[in-house]
Amino acid sequence: MARKITLWVAILLLLLIGLAPVISMFAKSLFVAGELSLGNYETLFQSEREWILLSNSFLLAGSVTFITLLLGVPLGTLFSKTDLPFKKIFIILFVIPLIIPSYILATAWFYFLGRSGIVAQILGANVGIFTSRFLFGFSGVLFVMVSTLLPIVIILVMTYLRMVNPKLEEAAKLSATWPVVLREISIPIIIPGICLAGLIVFILTLGEIGVPSSLRFDVFPVESFIQFSAFYNFNAATAAAIPLGVITLIILIIERLFLRKKVFQFRVTKDPMIIIPLGEKKPLFFAAVATLAFIIAIIPLCVLLIKSLSISAYHEALTRSIDSIFRSLLYAAIGATCLTVLGFFLGYLLERKAFRFTYAVDSIAILLFALPGTVIGIGLISLWNTRATNMIYASVAIIIFGYIAQYTALGERIMAATFSQIPRSMEEAAQIVGVGWFRRLFGILIPLAKRGIASIWLVGFIFCLRDLGITMMVYPPAHDTLPVRIFTLMANSPEEVIAALCMILILITLLPLSALSLIIKNKRQKI
């Protein structure tokens, strides 16, 4: 009974904090001046501009997906299946752009390729005009988004390849060379994983506002943000947010219907995976991967580092934003803690299939994760911006609600994976001798799951810390976080101060990341 109540509370929290805002927003958008009407949508779709924005969004998301898959599948394969030297360092380098807010990456590239950027200073103003033309617009956004989202494909491809039964590859290797084996056996078997990666990249690109707005490529989500922040036209903002929500929903339904069925039976084998010797081609592959890592990770990091390389810049950066640095850390810590608690119970629910509608809860969490931050942000405002709930709307709670709404799926899935490693019998053994739910919880489940719990907390911390989409929509006055502060300071602050702020943000994100990699490493050694 106690167990049931706890799980119900977790579900209700997810529904109230995550789903209710989205539904409320949708419901309100159907009313104009108190009457049921499609007026908001009519205005939206009458303007030609919206259609252009929508097609821009799809063009961008499609191109980013295509290119990340094109690069990410071979890279993931090289990292997981071959004897490429310095693999671990490369993986870390490729992952860095994902964990820092993407618009910071865009800023770094602006300092490098902009009209008066580093390249222009070295090679002359004409080159600067050329590079800045590349950067501002479709090509630049495409480039920055690819470097941000590439690690998602790399990591998923690596994970799925590791799950393929090595005997399948050996059986093929008896008559074919490695390139043929990879092309015809290994890669086709992990197609569900590749599709999943493509889907995530597509959805994340569709909802992105930071990079397109800093590199001035007009896309759909920016529209609802502008309607809201520049014109205070809440109805228009809502109407502009809904199509994104609907598109996301359609994509997820397609995934549930088609991709799920295609999942092959993976065997978790103890057989060691075969590592393919690259042989004579090793230097070639190494050079290619190193070049890419240099372009994608090292250049932007170095640009920020060089730009910010003065004590006065850091001093100025700290005086301007020390308050928001502390707020960022505090809010991310609160957010991560909430995500951990909620993720713990929802993950338990998902893994143990405690209720019949477990999968519905999971689908809601996934939908919320996939929705663009702006959509959730507008939903939260539409639900909580009333006199009665001003307590929440005008406080940090609204930001935390946003984190919970968007990132619960992460915690839920990590915990579900953790619980799948803990045999049900351990809990049942205690239950049989009459140990109650809370005793079991604190005496058995939490101690056994502590690695998973630590992982969600850190992952949650990183995601809350880098969040821009939701926070920027909902933060009450004097509650801005560091990413928001940087975003607002960007227009009228010296470049070295912005660069210093970016470096500070990167450093505080790298701390939990290194803690996380330590946890993962220890886990491997234990097995």
Binding site: N165, K167, L168, E170, A171, A172, K173, L174, S175, A176, T177, V180, E184, I185, P188, I189, I191, F264, Q265, R267, I274
Partner: protein, 238 residues
């Protein structure tokens, strides 16, 4: 002489898995390696196939030195070897036809010859009706036949089988043993078969190799090996 192994050693983390084995296999023989779990049977097969290179010793296949002095000289795909794995390792995303076709295509065999050979092989294994099915749609015994067909269609110099029947119930095990024997005799193929089941070993082998702790303890025909095993000081189950 199809396979010649001389003084083969292989250790994992300084613990020997195969400890100085020499074994010669003649054309058309059915050699069965019999031994308890962990004695190094799979390691030995994987060295012949080329997935593991021996630390020491020489392996020759059909007159070609494929591994010597701790180095693998010939890639698995160029060793002309067929293998049936314990868990079969049928490719789940390819149909029965696709599973049989893969190796032939990799060896650049023209399409009409490929189809001819596939059909012949499916007739031999009575699997023609399942040509377009996927492995997941077949029963255990049918999957076993496809795994065997996939190995044989490449016309290997030697067929390696690593406990291919150990996951089957006893009736199916007996039936497939018979089929393996029939196919082997029809094609005159050389076979190296690994098992820990004495009965299976004696019913299939022209020669039985008893292995223990990475060493060969006895080589002989069924009668000789039965005698050897019964005379062991402690008649442990192998």
């Amino acid at each position: 002489m199809i396979v010649k192994m001389d003084h083969i050693f292989k250790s994992y983390d300084k613990i020997p898995a195969v400890n100085g084995i020499s074994l010669h296999i003649e054309k058309g023989e059915r050699v069965v390696i019999l031994g308890p779990s962990g004695c190094g049977k799979t390691t030995l097969l994987r060295m012949i196939a080329g997935f593991v290179s021996p630390d020491k010793g020489t392996i020759e296949i059909d007159g070609l030195v494929v591994a010597k002095n701790g180095r693998s000289l010939v890639e698995p795909e160029n060793r002309k070897i067929g293998m049936v794995f314990q868990d079969l390792a049928l490719w789940p995303h390819k149909s029965v036809h696709g599973n049989l076709e893969f190796g032939l295509r990799a060896k650049k065999i023209p399409k009409n010859e490929r189809n001819k050979r596939i059909d012949e092989m499916l007739v031999k294994t009575q699997m023609i009706p399942f040509k377009n099915n996927f492995p997941g749609e077949l029963s255990g015994g049918q999957q076993q036949r496809i795994a065997l067909a996939r190995a044989l269609i490449m016309e290997p110099k030697i067929l390696l089988m690593d406990e291919p029947l150990s996951n089957l119930d006893i009736d199916l095990n007996l039936l497939l043993r018979k089929e393996v024997l029939e196919l082997q005799e029809e094609l005159g193929i050389t076979m190296l078969y690994v098992t820990h089941d004495r009965d299976e070993a004696f019913s299939l082998a022209t020669r039985v190799v008893v292995m223990q702790h990475g060493n060969i303890q006895k080589i002989g025909n069924a009668d000789e090996v039965t005698k050897f095993l019964s005379e062991l000081p402690v008649n442990k189950k192998t």
